[in-house]
Symmetry: C2
Subunit: 235 residues, 2 copies
DNA sequence: TCACATCATTCTGTCGACAATCAGAGGATA
DNA sequence: TATCCTCTGATTGTCGACAGAATGATGTGA
C-alpha cells in the first residue's frame, strides 16, 4: 500500500503550471503590481511567463472565481476595481460567513484548538507590543487566527469559501486601508472576547462577537480608506 | 453611441460553447443523468457533444466552482457525492448567507418589490392548493421567491453567491428529498412571515425569520432523505 | 473642430496534437 | 490463493495554430 502510494504521484513535487501562474498573478494583484482595472492580456502574460495560453486561461478563470478579476466575453479579463460600495458588500458577506463559522466552531472546537487560539492571541499581543502594530507579520497572525476558527467549524464549504474563494479578496480590501494602531488594539480585545466565548462553547455569543468584530473592521476600513487608492488603468 | 453599441456585440445571440456545455452538464447532474461519483471523462464527453476539450475543460472548471464536481489533479473530475454531513454543511452556509440577504433586503427593498413578493407568494399559495404541493412548478416559484429577496439586498456578491455559485448545489440537495406536503405548507407560512418583516423594513426580524426558515428546511431535508439515493458509480 | 465610417491590428474562443502520467489487466512468485 | 510487479491502453495537462470579433487609428464630410 505504501509502496503503491509511493508509485502513484511519484513526482511529489509536481505542480500544474496553472497553479503557479495563479499564485504569481494573485501576488501581482495583491501587491498592486497589477493595478485595479488593468486589462490582463493573454498573449502578453503568457509570453512574459513563458507558458502557453491554456494554463493561463485556467488561472484567469480561477482568479474570476475568487473575484479578483472580472471577465467579459470576447473582451477579456480586468483586475477588479474595489469601490467603497463593493468593499462594504464584501464585509457584509464576511460578517455572515465568519459569524456562522464562529457559531459552528463553538460547538465543535477541541480543547487543543482553544489552547492554540490562545497561544496565537498571545503572539499577536507580543507582535503588537513589539512593532507598534505596524509590521506586516501581524497580518499573517490575524489571518492564522481567523483561519483556525473557520477550520474548527468542521465545515468544508465554509473553509473553502473563506480560505480559498474570498481570502485574497479580503486581503485586497485590507490593503486599501492605512495602518491604524488604534484599530489593531481594539481588534486584539475583540479577538480575546471571541476566544473566551469559544472556550465556553457558547454558539450565540461566539457568533455575535465575531459579527461585531467584522462589522467594526468594516466601519474602520470604510472610514479610513487610503486617500490615494491605486487608480484604474485603461491600457 | 447607440449605433456603436449596436455594432459592438452585433451577434447578440452568440454564446460561448463553454456556456452551453456548462448548462447541459449541470442539467445532467441535477436530473440524475450523471450520478454522484461518476467520472467525467474529457475525451468521452467532448466526443458526445461534438466539441473540443478546451471549452469542455472550462465548463468542468465552472462546475467545480459551483461544487457540482470535484477534481483531483491528473485524475480528472467526478460528480460530487452529497453525504448527509455535506448536505447539512451546505444548509448551514445557506442559513448564514440568506439570513444576511434578508437583513440587507429589509433596508433596501422597494415598495414595488414588496408588492411583487406578495404576488409571488400568492402564486405559490395557488400552486400549492391546485397541485397539492407536489408539482414541479412550485420549486420554480420558491426559487423565484428567494432570488427576489437576494436581489433586493443590492449586494452583487450575495447575488452571485446564491444565484450562481450555490444555486445548483442547493437544488441538488433538494432533489434528494421526497416531496412532503406538510413541509410545503409550513414553508408557505414562513414565506409569508418573511415578506411581512420585509414590508415593515425590520432587518433583525427579517434575518431571524429567514434563518429559521432555512434551518427548518435543513432539518426537514435531513430527516426525510430519500431512502434510495443514487449510488456512486465507479466507472 | 467634431462626428462618423473604414480599415488594420490585436485579441479571444476554439481546435487538434503530443508527452507524461494514471488505472486496470495480466502474469509471476511465495 | 493472495500479493506484488509489469505492461498496456486511456486520460490529463500543455502546446501551437486559426477564424471571427473587438479595439484603436486613419480618413472623410459637415
Amino acid at each position: 500500500m505504501s509502496a503503491r502510494a509511493a508509485l502513484v504521484n511519484a513526482d511529489e513535487a509536481w505542480e500544474p503550471v496553472s497553479d503557479s501562474v495563479l499564485s504569481r498573478l494573485s501576488e501581482a494583484i495583491l501587491s498592486g503590481d497589477l493595478k485595479p482595472g488593468t486589462k490582463i492580456s493573454e498573449p502578453e502574460v503568457s509570453k512574459r511567463y513563458g507558458i502557453s495560453r491554456a494554463p493561463l486561461r485556467e488561472a484567469i478563470r480561477r482568479l474570476e472565481e475568487r473575484n479578483l478579476v472580472s471577465r467579459i466575453p470576447r473582451q477579456g479579463a480586468r483586475v477588479v476595481v474595489l469601490s467603497p460600495a463593493r468593499i462594504e458588500q464584501i464585509f457584509v458577506i464576511r460578517e455572515a460567513i465568519e459569524g456562522m463559522a464562529a457559531r459552528e466552531a463553538a460547538a465543535r472546537i477541541t480543547d487543543a484548538e482553544v489552547a492554540a487560539l490562545k497561544a496565537s492571541l498571545e503572539r499577536q499581543r507580543e507582535a503588537s507590543r513589539e512593532t507598534g502594530s505596524l509590521a506586516y507579520p501581524f497580518k499573517s497572525l490575524d489571518t492564522d487566527y481567523h483561519s483556525a476558527i473557520v477550520h474548527a467549524s468542521r465545515n468544508e464549504f465554509l473553509v473553502k469559501f473563506l480560505c480559498e474563494d474570498y481570502y485574497a479578496l479580503v486581503e485586497l480590501c485590507r490593503r486599501q486601508q492605512r495602518r491604524r494602531p488604534e484599530r489593531v488594539h481594539r481588534s486584539l480585545i475583540e479577538h480575546g472576547q471571541i476566544v473566551e466565548a469559544l472556550a465556553q462553547r457558547d454558539p450565540d455569543l461566539s457568533e455575535m462577537l465575531m459579527r461585531r468584530h467584522v462589522a467594526a473592521a468594516r466601519k474602520d476600513v470604510l472610514a479610513h480608506l487610503d486617500p490615494h487608492p491605486p487608480k484604474e488603468k485603461k491600457k
